[in-house]
Symmetry: C2
Subunit: 187 residues, 2 copies
DNA sequence: GCCATCTGTGGCACTCGGTGTCATATTTGG
DNA sequence: CCAAATATGACACCGAGTGCCACAGATGGC
């Protein structure tokens, strides 16, 4: 079970993240120092780094373990399901979750340092996904291509959604992108 | 024409890059300070930053303006050529150029900070490529997908090449990956 | 209630990447 | 030969991140 220890730790992390996002929204990411955040949450800079490894990470709360989670969800799917179909189904769920924190994503997109960190996270996630697909028996080269293409699909959807001013349902766009790429992964 | 000014500047950059790579090979990237590099090239840390914006950039000499160059090469292709075919042709050429500095790439792959910087560069390049494809009349969503898929192809090829221990010709792998993805971009 | 222990914390000093400033060579052009 | 542009070095400075240590508070056994 989850002990008191972990619960307070999660609470402090949430407090820090909350204060940080407030300050970022007010002054911007670069204009806010770690010391500012720590003081706003009533602690020292040194303690901040006991909860988050870097200043950037304070923004990526839930997305943090995305790679691991996606890999598990892939592994949990029926084994005979087509790999591309499987990816489609799993990432469809994630689209909603990412969509839920649109404001955080806007901040990320407008801040080079955060954008970079996001690229890193995605790269890690992609690596895990490749492994998960390989575990289902997909040949390595195809697994690489499929994982990257799927990531590209989500990315393209996000941009297309911005381009159209949010007038189209994101899940519809996801389905369209995956369908478009489907012919490449039929066997 | 190219004045003396630019030539000496290029020479100093080359000198710095050379010394830096030596030191990185000896001690590793993180264990080498910018001051070490500057001193090895007979100058001050302050001057180093007059030639390279960051410590990482000293490694990416020729790749630096990749995005811009690729975009231009795309624009220079016959206008009626199929977009995917066009991408294939252009990036086929780049594969050779990247392949030529395999040792630098090995350093990059084994150094998180450099790997991150590479991800950034690729992201910039992708943005330019999307624009170049859009200029040819490709619909935005498809251009996004195509650019990302093409990048994925080169990436997948690099990894597959490592997996097979370099026994297969890289250009062959590139062709295979592009052919595999081709059905997704036919119309 | 007492003591040993473990964990969280603050403070401090330190490293290193990166920037602004200024004073001083060095080069360039007339 | 002189004046303006440019390159450089030295210095101070900032902020992210780390190692260290001393101290507080909670925990648990006796």
């Amino acid at each position: 079970m989850e002990g008191l220890r972990d619960r307070t730790r999660r609470a402090v992390r949430a407090e820090l993240a909350g204060r940080a996002l407030e300050l970022f929204a007010e002054r911007g990411f670069d204009e806010t120092t770690v010391d500012d955040i720590a003081r706003a949450a009533g602690m020292s800079k040194r303690s901040f780094f006991r909860y988050f490894p870097t200043k950037e990470d304070v923004v990526f709360g839930e997305i943090e373990t995305m790679g691991e989670q996606v890999a598990q969800e892939i592994a949990a799917r029926p084994p005979q399901e087509e790999p591309w179909q499987c990816l489609h189904a799993v990432l469809r769920g994630w689209e909603s979750r990412i969509n839920a924190q649109a404001d955080a994503m806007r901040l990320v997109e407008s801040t080079p340092a955060l954008r970079t960190r996001l690229l890193q996270k995605r790269d890690e996630a992609r690596t895990r996904i490749i492994q998960a697909l390989a575990d289902r028996g997909m040949p390595p080269l195809e697994a690489d291509l499929a994982a990257a293409a799927a990531g590209a699909a989500l990315d393209a959807v996000a941009r297309e959604w911005l381009r159209t001013g949010g007038s189209i349902d994101r899940l519809t766009l996801v389905d369209r992108a995956f369908t478009m790429l489907r012919p490449a992964f039929l066997g």
